[in-house]
């Protein structure tokens, strides 16, 4: 319904707009005797066209920058929110997790307003309550690792969901591997994240 109305409005408006743009065309005929006026008018028109093209280029550049910024922000956020994984019953930061956490550091430095909630998770094996503690321990280990790079401790919040929120609900080794993890969510400063160096 709404779309039909918009279409109908366009049908009416478009010819009017075309007419409006064509209106100056007959002017040279009627104003032919005034050649000096004609030259000034043409110069003004050229100048207007030049200004328009500058504005268009500027807008395009701004748009490109905005897009690049948005892409950078998305990329920064993806790195910050990359999940890290743990070994069975362990809360030690593995070497692959170290690399992942190290990638977050320059982004955290470039975005001092960004705050992160780290949630720790466990696989379904073992005590429900101990797994809650283990999840907290994993979140704390990830936080501690980042603090070790000089990132301020108060930028992190740690929580645990134990075994209650598996990434993969299956009961096999592959699922357990995916479920022993710390997840990261940007809770503040997510709107204007920048990549380092920008």
């Amino acid at each position: 319904m709404l779309r039909q109305m918009v279409l109908a409005a366009l049908v009416i408006v478009l010819p009017l707009a075309t007419c409006a743009r064509r209106q100056p065309a007959p002017a040279p005929v009627s104003a032919a005797p005034d050649t000096a006026g004609e030259g000034a008018r043409r110069a003004a028109e050229r100048e207007r066209a030049r200004q328009d093209s500058i504005a268009r280029a500027r807008a395009a550049a701004e748009e490109a920058a905005r897009r690049a910024g948005a892409e950078g922000a998305a990329r920064a956020r993806a790195i910050l929110e990359e999940t890290v994984f743990f070994d069975y019953d362990e809360s030690a930061i593995r070497s692959d997790a170290q690399e992942s956490l190290a990638r977050k550091v320059p982004i955290l430095r470039a975005n001092p307003g960004a705050r992160i909630r780290i949630s720790g998770h466990a696989d379904e094996r073992g005590s429900v309550e101990y797994n809650l503690a283990l999840g907290m321990r994993r979140a704390a280990a990830a936080r501690q690792y980042l603090i070790g790079f000089g990132i301020s401790a108060d930028r992190f919040e740690t929580v645990s969901f134990g075994e209650d929120r598996p990434a993969d609900p299956a009961s096999n080794e592959q699922a357990w591997t995916r479920n022993r993890r710390a997840e990261f969510v940007v809770t503040a400063g997510a709107d204007n994240l920048v990549m380092p160096g920008n």
Partner: protein, 458 residues
């Protein structure tokens, strides 16, 4: 929660017994059923005038089942027709090897029934004991608990220690949508019901020593808090001891304080909190970076069990220390290089026996084990062997355990008698967890008809 272990994993002990026995570390042995001769007990259908015959039938059934579930007796499966009624002929019962005969007579009363119970000692040819009890009408909510209390008293007459039928088990359920419920169920599996819920995590219900209050941890909008609930009235209050996370609360033996694992300032500690004054977190234990949880006081309140990974092998182990904190002794077996894991300790209400669950290598499933708190580092008894078994809680008799089981029959909550090794399903459901057995909630003395004639013990 889903904790289906592979059937193959459950087979490690069952199918490769000798191999498993070789791998088993020193100090852990598989428990064997305690093969003491159990006396044969018969329950004769309780008699009643016609209008309440149906009530008498259900009273008989409840008592019969409570005695069966107690596991201290063998029950006569079927009574010969000629022995279903009439005067007791000791020779006839003796010929069936019956040692104790339970009789009941139900009469209507103003508020329900009067149940007159008589236990005959067939071997000695005499009445062991008899008593009259007031039981609410079958439609009343307290009906079954009153009958359970009578059955518990019959157990006491025969076995010198009361039964555990007049109890309930608190448990949690994790629902699909991420919400949690607190549930109660009677000890015989009757009346599973939801009593509270939470949109966020609901963990670790625990009973006050008098069985009148339940305490549990929730993580809803305002972070982790404790809820204390009055079981009879359903009224509840929120307790906020602080901290980033609350783990495994447990009442002190006098019920005035709560012991809990607390995560605060990114450190894990054992603390105590005053429930009456609602203040004052007092640190009991917690060293630096170690994870500490599950504080459980001994029955006399002088010692404390707890779980810690302070051995720095990345695994939880169970320790025992003085109640106020101090030197801790390792209770569970430790061998360098073994990937042992022991957690969820429960102190027997009647002895120094400690139930817990764990495994002794990374392939193993979790099994229920028993240790003696008086002998740290001593012999460990493994009382389950198949499937995956976790999170034990003792019945008030220090003989039965309720626990979570999967991979050996339908997943759910089970009850095990550690002496006979007999088990039964309490409540099926893979999402039922964290079961806690209440103290005795009603005693026979509470329903005794005082005007009854004195005991005729001889």
């Amino acid at each position: 929660m889903r904790r289906k272990m592979l059937a193959a994993a459950g087979c490690i002990l069952a199918c490769t017994g000798p191999l498993a026995a070789q791998e088993q570390p020193r100090g852990i042995r598989l428990a064997a059923p305690y093969n003491v001769q159990r006396p044969l007990v018969a329950v004769r259908p309780f008699t009643a005038a016609e209008p309440i015959a149906e009530a008498a039938d259900s009273l008989t059934a409840i008592v019969q089942r409570d005695l069966t579930f107690n596991r201290r007796f063998r029950m006569l499966p079927a009574l010969p027709q000629e022995l279903q009624a009439g005067a007791v002929d000791y020779r006839q019962w003796n010929a069936l090897n019956v040692v104790y005969l339970v009789l009941g007579e139900v009469t209507p009363s103003e508020r329900g029934y009067v149940l007159a119970v008589t236990v005959h000692d067939i071997v000695y040819g005499r009445v062991l004991n008899q008593q009259r009890y007031a039981v609410p009408a079958a439609t009343e909510p307290d009906f079954r608990m009153a009958v359970h209390a009578v059955a518990d008293e019959v157990v006491r007459w025969i076995a010198q220690t009361p039964g555990i039928a007049a109890t309930r088990i608190a448990l949690t359920r994790q629902n699909g949508g991420g919400s949690y419920d607190l549930l109660l169920v009677d000890s015989d599996g009757y009346g599973l019901r939801r009593v509270a819920g939470s949109g966020g995590q609901l963990y670790s219900p625990t009973w006050s020593p008098n069985g009148q209050r339940l305490l549990y941890a929730v993580n809803a909008d305002r972070g982790w808090q404790l809820i204390e609930r009055d079981v009879a009235s359903g009224s509840q209050r929120t307790i906020d001891p602080g901290g980033e996370m609350i783990l495994t609360p447990s009442y002190s033996r006098d019920g005035t304080r709560v012991l809990l694992g607390m995560w605060r300032q990114n450190r894990s500690e054992l603390v105590e909190y005053d429930l009456e004054r609602q203040c004052c977190v007092r640190r009991i234990s917690g060293q630096g970076n170690d994870l500490e949880a599950y504080p459980v006081p001994s029955p006399d309140g002088r010692r404390l069990l707890f779980v810690s990974d302070r051995l720095h092998d990345g695994r939880p182990h169970i320790f025992v220390m003085p109640a106020g904190g101090g030197d801790a002794a390792l209770l569970t077996p430790y061998e360098r290089g073994q990937r042992n894991y022991y957690t969820s300790p429960a102190w027997s209400p009647t002895s120094s026996r400690v139930a817990f669950h764990g495994h002794w290598n990374s392939r193993g499933t979790y099994q229920i084990m028993l240790a003696d708190a008086d002998r740290p580092g001593g012999q460990i008894e493994q009382v389950t062997a198949h499937g995956n078994n976790e999170d034990p809680s003792w019945a008030p008799d220090g003989r039965h355990l309720v626990y979570t089981s999967s991979g050996d029959g339908p997943a759910g909550l089970y009850i095990l008698d550690v002496e006979s090794q007999e088990r039964r399903v309490l409540a099926p459901g893979g999402n039922l967890r964290m079961a806690e057995w209440s103290p005795r909630l009603l005693r026979a003395a509470d329903v005794l008809v005082r005007s009854s004639p004195p005991n005729e013990e001889m």
